[in-house]
């Protein structure tokens, strides 16, 4: 097979199995890594002869952390502003297989109404058939962004004057896609 025509999955439209997928974030806060995620996510993966396209979204109102007051703060204008910007979006017009299951993705991320190009790395699994006869792949993507590029600027200074919350945020999407018509749960 010619490397130029390698695609990440068999051609077709793939739907997200949202139950077995997650979109999470990690950011350095105080003395460690703070982690959270989004419960309501959606994505479509379209694979044609020479490229794959991904469109995904996460509902800000579904942000999930361990404290309801913090959840409320993350939805507030101080952070994601769920009322005005209810969705985070990611689109990639060209997802390439670099070999050995590694993928590189040039895409655009939209947070709080600001759209910026981001570079995403990740892996894709070989297609498999699950116990219900549905064809399925796993796509794991990671990017690191500066949240202040997207207007998410909240901080609180430490006693020494340093910020308590880092600007760099890692976003991890662990996605399973199925061919429509199959069982998804």
């Amino acid at each position: 097979m010619n490397a130029a025509t390698l695609t990440i999955a068999p051609a077709g439209t793939w739907s997200l199995d949202s139950v077995h997928s997650s979109v999470d974030f990690e950011v350095s806060y105080l003395a460690g890594q703070f982690k959270g995620g989004f419960d309501e996510i959606g994505a479509d993966l379209t694979v044609d002869a020479d490229r794959a396209r991904l469109e995904g979204n996460a509902k800000v109102a579904s942000v999930d952390v361990k404290d309801e007051n913090l959840t409320a703060h993350l939805q507030a204008p101080d952070f994601f502003d769920a009322e005005q910007y209810p969705e985070l979006r990611f689109t990639a017009e060209d997802i390439r297989l670099d070999g050995d299951g590694q993928v590189s993705v040039a895409g655009e991320l939209t947070i709080k109404g600001v759209t910026k190009p981001v570079t995403v790395t990740g892996t894709v699994t070989a297609p498999m058939v699950d116990p219900y006869g549905t064809e399925r792949i796993g796509l794991n993507l990671t990017t690191k962004i500066d949240r202040t590029d997207f207007g998410v600027n909240w901080n609180n200074p430490l006693p020494n004057g340093d910020p308590s919350l880092a600007n760099d945020v890692t976003i991890l999407a662990e996605l399973q896609f199925v061919k429509p018509g199959g069982e998804t749960n």
Binding site: E68, N69, T71, Q75, A76, P77, D78, D81, E83, Q84
Partner: protein
């Protein structure tokens, strides 16, 4: 008619900050009604043991007034580099529970007057921080009124530049209110 609630952080009768809100009410156009809240002094100290249903009447009245308003304009003096305790105490009451409090997503703006040279800029910054923390839609504006005792005569604002900036603040709040209405009418 756009309804804006004015809350002064200063309790005294001849407060420059309350006068500033009166001037804002006059500067507001015919489409905006700015009502000045007069019950801040009655709010008891926040105590979770007292935060029961029904809540103290003075607290319920403030919560209702904020809920009924499209936006809130705060005018704060500066006490020891920060906001007055009673104003913070009132916001602490209103902020509970955080996830559903009436200031959440409410457009708010902060102005401030002081008799000193800086016009309560630290207090305004502190108040914006507190309001953002409780989930309000805090406008990115500052209106310091320094040497406040020289800018009012018999309670009436005599400074046209301040009056114009008050009008700008009201217009900014009105714009934010319209933006919210657009979101909700689409949704």
């Amino acid at each position: 008619m756009t309804q804006i609630l004015g809350i002064s952080g200063s309790l005294r009768r001849d407060s420059h900050n309350t006068n500033l809100l009166r001037a804002a009410a006059e500067a507001a156009g015919p489409d905006v009604e700015l009502e000045i809240y007069d019950g801040l002094k009655e709010i008891p100290p926040y105590d979770e043991d007292d935060d029961l249903h029904p809540r103290p009447a003075s607290v319920a009245r403030l919560v209702d007034a904020i809920a009924d308003a499209d936006a809130v304009l705060f005018a704060t003096p500066e006490y020891n580099s920060s906001i007055p305790g009673q104003l913070k105490n009132a916001i602490d009451w209103v902020s509970r529970p955080v996830a559903t409090n009436v200031l959440r997503n409410k457009p708010v703006a902060v102005v401030g007057a002081s008799t000193g040279a800086f016009g309560a800029v630290w207090a305004q910054a502190e108040l914006r921080k507190v309001l953002a923390a409780v989930g309000a839609r805090v406008l990115d504006l500052e209106l310091p009124v320094p040497h406040a005792h020289t800018r009012f005569e018999d309670g009436a604002l005599t400074d046209d530049e301040i009056r114009a900036r008050l009008d700008d603040a009201i217009q900014a709040l009105a714009g934010e209110i319209r933006a919210r209405q657009d979101i909700h009418s689409v949704a």
